[in-house]
């Protein structure tokens, strides 16, 4: 089976979901004309990234009666969509979120589980921490979504792999940093290395898209990509500019790679569980929370 994947790397208007919705719908139309099956947008694509006190004013519920989601759900009858937004739950907690929309339905919502609150980041001040990492079924097989810092940690991709995801859909609003004398920023190099590593270690597809544009002095570097189960890049978007990168994802590659390299078959999950139980129940634990 093949899935034609569209990776949208867009700029956003800070704190104006309606303006960003228009941009999404324009991209959907562009993707539809090129027969894209699944279109992936970056983290917080409907709101902008450094929201601070704007968070409560841009939150939406992913539902058919929501003015922001109604047209997106309608568009999802033509092609599947992953969009980034602020989700406000029934207890009025705000989450950095990604929603997978397909056939007019919300198939899955992921709440970001790792909120960077260090260095230039202050997400934990404004957002609630998500509390689950789950794969879900789509018409192209089982997938999982993660948002930026989620996949700077090794455990969420690993959990999705064990939960059956063969395609990881990663989205970022990654501020560029670490300029030195090499060709790419340190932040870009890091993300590309780990995406290749996840694809290789989990013998799965890893799709990633990242914002472009500026918010005050921060810039976002773009560089969307798709890695195949051999850890090879099948497509790379440009850096620092808006683009729609379209690539055919041949899902039969999973069969071919895993026939050669049965890492999933041999993964010793019971051993992992035993050792995790031992480590986490220990009294002198010095890692994690």
């Amino acid at each position: 089976m093949k899935c034609k994947l569209g990776l949208a790397q867009i700029n956003t208007v800070l704190g104006d979901p309606e303006a960003n919705l228009a941009r999404h719908l324009a991209l959907v139309e562009q993707a539809r004309q090129q027969s894209v099956d699944l279109l992936l947008f970056p983290e917080l694509s409907l709101t902008g990234y450094v929201l601070q006190d704007l968070v409560p004013t841009v939150a939406h519920r992913p539902a058919a009666d929501d003015p922001l989601f109604a047209p997106l759900l309608e568009a999802s009858r033509q092609l599947d969509l992953v969009v980034g937004f602020v989700d406000e739950d029934s207890r009025h907690r705000f989450f950095i979120s990604s929603a997978y929309l397909s056939g007019g339905q919300v198939l899955h919502v992921h709440h970001k589980v790792y909120l960077p609150t260090y260095g230039l980041f202050d997400e934990g001040r404004f957002f609630a921490w998500g509390d689950s990492v789950q794969a879900f079924d789509t018409r192209f097989g089982r997938m999982g979504m993660l948002i930026c810092e989620d996949f700077w940690h090794a455990s969420p991709p690993y959990l999705l792999w064990l939960d059956g995801a063969d395609v990881l859909l990663l989205s970022s609003a990654s501020p560029g940093r670490g300029l030195n004398n090499s060709e790419h920023l340190e932040s870009a190099r890091w993300v590309e290395h780990i995406n290749q590593a996840y694809a290789s270690l989990f013998t799965c597809f890893v799709a990633h898209t990242n914002r472009v544009g500026y918010e005050d002095g921060l810039h976002f570097w773009g560089g969307a990509s798709l890695c195949d189960p051999n850890g090879e890049f099948l497509a790379r978007g440009p850096y620092h500019q808006e683009a729609l990168t379209i690539v055919d994802m041949d899902l039969n590659q999973l069969h071919r790679t895993r026939a050669r390299l049965p890492l999933l078959r041999d993964e010793r999950t019971a051993l992992v569980q035993r050792e995790l139980n031992r480590i986490l129940s220990g009294q002198n634990r010095s890692s994690g929370r």
């Binding site: 704190g15 918010e215 005050d216």
Partner: protein
Amino acid sequence: MINLEINTDLATTILTGFIRSELNRMGFNRAVLGLSGGIDSALSCYLAARALGPENVLAVRMPYKTSSADSLEHAGLIIDALGVQSLTIPITEMADGLIARFPEMDDMRRGNIMARCRMIVLYDQSAAFNGLVIGTGNKTEILLGYSTLYGDSACAINPLGDLYKTQVRQLSRALGIPSVVVEKAPSADLWAGQTDEGELGFTYAEVDRLLYLLVDQRYTPAECVEAGFSEPFVRAVVRRIQRNQFKRIMPPIAKLSNRTIGYDFLYLRDWGT
């Protein structure tokens, strides 16, 4: 390892995009900057011209009666090379109006008055030209506090503030800024013979290596001494950075209410754009 070398193509892409984006978001497509004849303002001018087109950049030369003739000439080289719009507005009369009242005034006070007169000229031209003021302060100078508050540090956006002087020189060479501007001794040109390095007591090349360890690599002062820097030099620089923090932040507001600007009223400048 101390390596201050940068990829100049990548820096140019990011910085020109920054100038264009942040001006456009504020509803502008033109820029104003003071051109001193030195390397920092030359680099800002090159980046602005590349980002916006030379016709959308106004370079203003603002000599005082003691400014060196070279400064005016070097600024002229930049204007001619780029084809940016230009004005020459001497500040002697406006500065001397205040300076003449205080015959005992020292160099620092006179220098600050000149820097603030230039700020007034630039912000007036900002309104006249319908362009925003582009800053010219680099990371070295901001960390050391080697600038006049509300004077040369005043600007709408600053494309150079995360580049050490050493990196300003590298990027300037890469962009083809005339070597006479890149190579000459940096000077605030407030009085004859003044040089930055003479006043500071160390060279930029030297202090940039130390700042890179202290700031970028998060070395402790003791670790910098272990890495080979002299202890008095490290102590003097650390003290300078600390004493000049006031120039790097907005004036603190005394908190009284439940929601106070600067503490819990938090929005980017790009809010809604």
